[in-house]
Each structure stands twice: as structure tokens, then as C-alpha cells.
């Protein structure tokens, strides 16, 4: 890749520091975006472990879920929520660059793709909320 050049005897090779992502705000935000996937995964594991209590009965499940009102868990989940929101926002903005949708000769504007993403996010969240609140036995 870097072939030795006799006419360039002492090319200086800079080293990239492992802390490169701390050097610029944009790089730091990128790392936060990547980190969001960890918090989302942890929440889903917690959710799964809660569901796993269901075969033990309704009271066991509710008692287990109540354990998560400990301040540590609430704070963790608020932080996780912030990361999840950051993931959603950056995801729909990224989608507008990736999804090239053409209708005839014109391309759907990227802002429209992002808006559709946000719209779907809001609509689905509302549906889930309503089902959770009102579809009960």
C-alpha cells in the first residue's frame, strides 16, 4: 500500500490515537449513537427476563416488575430511553440518505422520507400505548 519511495526517504506517518472520538464533538456524538445500541439491547434483555416470569403466574410477574422501581433501575431506564430516542432520531435521518425512492422521474425528497419515519414512529407508539392501556381482560 505505501511502497518505499527512494525520493521520499522520511515520510512522516502520523498515528491515530485510540481517543480519536474525543477530539471532535461530531465524533463524540457518533460514538454516543453507536453506544445507544447497547442500552437498547440491555432494556430488551430486561424486558425478556420480566416476560420469563409469566409462567410463574401473574402475581409473580407483577412482583418481579415492581423490583424495577428501585432508583438505580429507574435512572438506568431513563438514560436508556434518552439513548433510544437518540437512536430513533438519527436512524430516520440516516434512512433519508439510504432510501432512494423514485416516483417516475422525480426522487422523493429526503426530508419526506425522514418525516414518514417520524410519522410512523409516532403512529405506532400511539397504537402500542392504546393497546396496552385498553386491551385488557
Amino acid at each position: 500500500m505505501n511502497v518505499p519511495r527512494p525520493d521520499r526517504p522520511k515520510v512522516f506517518q502520523p498515528q491515530m490515537p485510540a481517543s480519536w472520538w474525543l477530539k471532535h464533538p461530531k465524533y463524540f456524538l457518533f460514538m454516543l449513537r453507536e453506544l445507544s445500541s447497547v442500552f437498547i439491547a440491555i432494556f430488551l434483555v430486561v424486558f425478556l427476563v420480566q416476560i420469563a416470569q409469566l409462567p410463574r403466574g401473574q402475581e409473580a410477574y407483577i412482583a418481579f416488575v415492581q423490583k424495577f422501581n428501585a432508583p438505580g433501575w429507574i435512572i438506568f431506564h431513563i438514560v436508556a430511553l434518552l439513548f433510544a430516542l437518540y437512536h430513533s432520531v438519527t436512524w430516520f435521518e440516516a434512512a433519508s440518505k439510504i432510501l432512494v425512492i423514485r416516483r417516475g422521474e422525480r426522487r422523493v425528497p429526503p426530508q419526506v422520507v425522514t418525516a414518514i419515519g417520524f410519522g410512523a414512529w409516532g403512529a405506532l407508539s400511539l397504537v402500542v400505548l392504546l393497546l396496552f392501556l385498553f386491551l385488557r381482560s
Partner: protein, 248 residues
């Protein structure tokens, strides 16, 4: 009469007597209409003729004068002193490239990668003259036009942390230019470029940091080109898996 001045901190590296690059301060006149390149030319003409750097058109079309200005990859012909004055302006060679001398970097790696994506129209056979010219509608032009704006200034490589970490990475401009030809209706070379851009050192190294598109002075949006290449490559991958008898 005291003309206002601005201080430039410029990287100097003369391998015949320097072990490593070091900063040097210069005081240059501050003019409203001057760009950083004007300041560098003033230094070379009036203060220190040994300063070495690349430049050419001084109007943002040749891609020669890319350098780091206060830590951000810029075309120095497009970075006005008034954006920074009265603060000190730090001028360094483009990040992620080996430094040959002062502000001049070694671009052999980029040139080799650019060549590897075959950035020209590939035809399975040339049309005879009698058949006339290749015709392209405005819509077909729009498919790839943005990616054709690349001036090979390499600011995107300086902004890309993946290129800094993994020198094998093809990089934003090379992949965007591969897409420029892949999306050109006159081109028939996707099959030749595919293995290069869809390799491990190609599109899959990219983690969509997105800084390449932010610093691009011509709004090429190489990040979009790379992600779109991921989509087309993935679609083709699933197609060949699920419909192996399909046309290649």
C-alpha cells in the same frame, strides 16, 4: 500605518533535518477578502520561501489545496481569514495521510484506490459511430450527477475516522466515484467494480459516521453513495441466494 494582522500556526516538516513535524508561527496581514491560501502565499512570498504546499486554481475546483484549518479539513482557497480572525489560525496537513514535507501529504494510496474502482465508462463493446451518440435523459443524468462533482480533494479521507484506523479502507471518494459510474446509464461495468467496492475493505468498513459528506466542498455526499451501495449489494446478495437461477 498599522495594518491589522492575524497569526497563523503552520506545520513545518523538512525531513532532511526534522525528526517530526513542528508548528511555526507567522504574522500575516489581515484582509477581509483573503483566504487562508492567500495567507500561505504571503508567507511564502514575503516571509519564508521554504514553506511547501499544494495549490492551483484558488477557486475550489481543482482540489489541490486541502489542509486542516483549526482541525477541520478545508480547501484553503475557500476558508476565509475573517471566519477565524482575530483568533490564531492553525494550518496543518490533511489528517490520516503520511506527510512528505510541510503541508504536502502523500496521496499515492488514494490514487491507487481510485484506479482500483475503474472510474471510467466501461462498455462490453463500443458502439460503432454509425449508431450515433449515447443518449441520456435528464432523469438518467440525475441518478449519478451529484457523485460526478468530486474534485478528488481528499477532505473526506481526512474527516473519516475509519480511514485513519484502517488504512486499507477504500474510502469515501473512491466509493462515491465507483457509484458515479455504476449509476451511469452508459456504463456496463458494475460487475467489474462490484468485487472491489463490496469487499471487506470497501463499503462494509464504513460505519456511517457521515463526516465525509459534512466536509465535502462540492456536496457530493459520499456517505449516501456508500450506504446506497450497501443496499444494492445486499439486494443482489439476497437475490442470488433466493433466486440462484436468475440472470447474473
Amino acid at each position: 500605518m498599522n495594518e491589522p494582522t492575524v497569526t497563523l500556526q503552520v506545520t513545518r516538516y523538512h525531513p532532511e533535518h526534522d525528526e517530526a513535524p513542528r508548528p511555526q508561527l507567522y504574522s500575516v496581514p489581515y484582509r477581509e477578502d483573503w483566504v487562508v491560501l492567500d495567507a500561505l502565499n504571503y508567507i511564502k512570498d514575503q516571509i519564508d520561501g521554504t514553506l511547501t504546499y499544494r495549490w492551483s486554481c484558488r477557486m475550489g475546483v481543482c482540489g489541490s489545496c486541502g489542509m486542516m484549518v483549526n482541525g477541520v479539513p478545508r480547501l484553503t482557497c475557500a476558508a476565509f481569514l475573517r471566519e477565524y480572525y482575530p483568533q490564531e489560525i492553525r494550518v496543518e496537513p490533511l489528517t490520516n495521510f503520511p506527510i512528505i514535507r510541510d503541508l504536502v501529504i502523500d496521496m499515492d494510496d488514494f490514487m491507487q484506490k481510485l484506479r482500483s474502482v475503474k472510474p471510467w465508462i466501461i462498455r462490453e463493446g463500443d458502439r460503432p459511430l454509425e449508431e450515433g451518440e449515447y443518449r441520456q435523459s435528464p432523469a438518467e443524468l440525475e441518478y449519478y450527477k451529484q457523485y460526478s462533482m468530486c474534485i478528488n480533494c481528499m477532505l473526506c479521507y481526512a474527516a473519516c475516522p475509519v480511514y485513519g484506523l484502517e488504512p486499507e479502507f477504500l474510502g469515501p471518494a473512491a466509493i462515491a466515484l465507483a457509484q458515479r459510474y455504476n449509476l451511469d446509464s452508459r456504463d456496463q461495468g458494475q460487475a467489474q467494480r462490484g468485487p472491489v467496492i463490496a469487499s471487506h475493505e470497501g463499503i462494509w468498513e464504513c460505519t456511517f459516521v457521515g463526516e465525509c459528506s459534512v466536509v465535502c466542498p462540492k456536496n457530493v455526499d459520499p456517505a449516501a453513495a456508500i450506504q446506497q451501495a450497501k443496499v444494492t449489494t445486499t439486494n443482489a446478495w439476497f437475490k442470488s441466494l433466493l433466486l440462484p437461477w436468475g440472470k447474473r
